[in-house]
């Protein structure tokens, strides 16, 4: 009797579960925004801002919330009846929660941040509102093409996100150490000196004191800078590692390692952070958001002994990260959400208020000319230099590239494959080959997934 009851109960439970799974998957496709609905939303946002009454949730990670808070007053001056609630957590948790909520069809915020490294996972998703329907295509020319294209679906029809900020890659160096060893400290002179790999090695040798002071956190990084646009794969999903001057670059990296001019550690480790602040690690490269990291976190007392210029070794202009805003299709307040995105990201006022607060370099180009002083004024932290002016120049030159879901995994391997190759005494060609096979092995399954996504989008040709 009891056995039987147990059996029946478990059968019922399992059936119920399967049913809920099936219906769960079935109801996932939220009501897609139609063309007419999109036009209505666009018109409402532009025509009568005060008429939009809503409470919206905006999700992301710090310090984006500080940015929004800084621009909120301006936003509410135009949209007095939109109440904004910020739901912020760390980057990883935010993306996991967003992904889950999109798959479940409910629970996502009305507006969500998406980090540059993740955007390739979302560009084809129909769970996000096609912003072109809301009139976003009119904004296209105000944004750098390389950033905008990352948010366009593979079939070229939909736009799932608006770019927030850029990360023009800058080379940061300790001016106090450069001065001490008799090197120039002016950004242009440093750039000129380090244009060639010979120049880079000369600087490395001068600033380094074996066992006490080092040129870089790791000799692997100059090689990583070559790929920092994250353009590892072409549109046929072939891994393309050959770059102009890449072997010379690896060769220089190997020399830095052999001579003990690098600390041989991760640039984001606590040890490296301590060394930046102490002046024992003399230089490092990162997106221009690193200026904010230095000022607030790594070296708050370091005003006056940091400089920034373009990447050494004659490398082309590149972009390192930067985030986007999306509007999930499931949002019931698309008007208010679109008003928020448009004000924050596509007005000079919104972007510059956030730029001042959190150093997120605006992807919205009219912001640069609307308040030129923000971009050209000498920055006391950088000894009166203006890293933002250099960043703006770099941003204008970044090429459009093709991004995939394999990019973050591939990026992780440059550091470890270079170290493995250097440890094994390999030549630059061998290291490049090793990197290729390491990436292919680690990305095999992700590539299958990417091909499936492209097939679903109808743009994959065998």
């Amino acid at each position: 009797m009891k056995k039987k009851l147990q059996k029946i109960v478990s059968v019922l439970l399992i059936t119920g579960m399967c049913a809920s799974m099936v219906t769960g998957c079935g109801s996932k496709a939220a009501q897609a925004t139609t063309e007419e609905a999109g036009k209505e939303i666009a018109a409402a946002v532009d025509a009568d801002p005060a008429s939009i009454k809503a409470h919206i949730e905006v999700g992301g990670w710090p310090s984006g919330d500080d940015g929004f808070k800084a621009a909120m007053e301006g936003f509410n001056a135009i949209y007095p009846n939109i109440e904004v609630e910020l739901v912020f957590t760390d980057t990883t948790s935010h993306h996991q929660a967003l992904q889950t909520a999109l798959a479940a069809g409910e629970g996502a915020p009305d507006v969500a941040m998406v980090e540059g490294a993740y955007i390739a996972q979302y560009r084809n998703s129909t769970a996000l509102t096609d912003l072109n329907l809301l009139g976003a295509q009119d904004l296209k020319n105000d944004f750098g093409a390389f950033k905008w294209e990352q948010a366009v679906s593979d079939d070229g029809t939909r736009l799932v996100a608006i770019p927030w900020d850029l990360g023009p890659t800058l080379y940061y160096y300790r001016t106090d150490v450069f001065e001490e060893v008799g090197l120039p400290t002016d950004p242009e002179e440093v750039a000129e000196l380090m244009k060639t790999w010979d120049g880079v090695l000369e600087v490395a040798e001068k600033v380094s004191i074996p066992g006490q002071r080092w040129f870089l956190p790791s000799a692997a990084y100059p090689y990583q800078w070559m790929f920092i646009n994250r353009d590892y794969y072409d549109e046929k999903l072939n891994l393309v590692l050959e770059r102009e001057g890449d072997l010379e670059c690896i060769d220089a990296c190997l020399k830095i390692r052999e001579n003990g001019w690098d600390m041989d550690i991760d640039m984001w480790s606590g040890e490296a952070y301590a060394a930046y602040a102490a002046g024992t690690c003399v230089s490092v490269a990162a997106g221009s958001w690193f200026s904010g990291f230095l000022k607030t976190d790594i070296d708050p007392d370091g005003a006056g002994h940091w400089g920034a210029t373009v990447l050494p070794g004659g490398m082309p202009a590149t972009n390192w990260g930067g985030s986007f805003l999306v509007i999930p299709e499931q949002s019931e307040n698309k008007e208010a959400a679109w008003a928020f995105v448009k004000y924050m990201l596509a007005t000079a006022e919104g972007q510059n208020a956030m730029f001042k607060a959190v150093d997120y370099f605006p992807a919205y180009e009219p912001a640069w000319t609307a308040a030129p002083e923000l971009y050209t004024d000498p920055d006391p932290y950088f000894g009166g230099q203006s890293p933002n002016a250099i960043a703006a120049k770099i941003a204008a030159e970044v090429p459009t590239v093709y991004n995939t879901i394999m990019d973050t995994t591939a990026e992780g391997y440059i550091y470890s494959s270079f170290n493995a190759g250097a440890e094994a005494g390999e030549t630059p060609e061998q290291i490049r080959e090793r990197l290729g096979s390491d990436i292919e092995a680690a990305c095999a399954e992700l590539k299958q997934q990417q091909i499936q996504t492209l097939k679903d989008a109808g743009v994959w040709q065998e």
Partner: protein
Amino acid sequence: MKGGNNLLYNLRKYRVAYAYIAPFYILFLVFGIFPMVAGLFLSFFRWDGLGSMHFIGVENYINLLGDALFWKALQNTVFIGIIAHIPILLGGLILAYILNSKLVHGQNLFKTIYFMPMVTSSVAITIIFANLFGYNYGLLNYVLSLFGKGPVNWLGGDGSLIRVAVIVMFAWKWIGWNMVIYLAGMQGISNDIYEAARIDGASHSRIVFSIVMPLLKPIILFTLIQSTIGMFNLFTEPFVLTGGLGGGTNNGGLTLMMYLFSKAPQGGNAYGYASAIAYVITVMIVIISVILNKTMGRDKA
């Protein structure tokens, strides 16, 4: 039909009882059983978490078996687990014995201190250990330099030493847990047995190996299963130490759980493949638990 009637009859008859126990079963169903079944279901699909799902049969499992990184991760995980279990088992037993035999005062203080690593945030612990094992400024390398030895790149180099750091952290964390459990077990052993042994002139090591260990067998089995599961779940320590999902140079610190995370949701979004990995790990845990039970648990009953 009769079954149905009985069910309804029983449900009605015991409805108050069922209502009382319902909260647990509903929560267990939603947060326990459902994800397990959904994961198994997913492992037969290719799915990016957002788009449409594609049934691909056992392809995920076949690809997994042919993936060199999977084997590397398995090898690392088992190596770390086996080496770490030597200090975990012996250290736990010896510490528990010392405390139990009243060789030292302040039993409760030591219990608390040794148990602390188990309840401290892994991330916080790992940041401290990363500093100990640091290359240029690490405490360990400083100590080595006092003996005239050059700095060792624990977390870099060819990647083989990352496991040393992970083993130390893993063992350090689990010794205290095992000690507390063993101590509880030892207190269940009658004092007469210890006294008889001592009168017969048995040494401390003799008592540990010939009396305590055989009598503690079921408890040792329990801790072994717990720490085996802990071994397969090893993620935070190597992840934070190596600063990425590849596990450092030559994948030296890549564990199975990191390998899973590198497919979804952190490194990519291959949810079907990640589910297949999760199921392979589950099967391995079940097999090892059964083997442990069979070999150690037999004469216990």
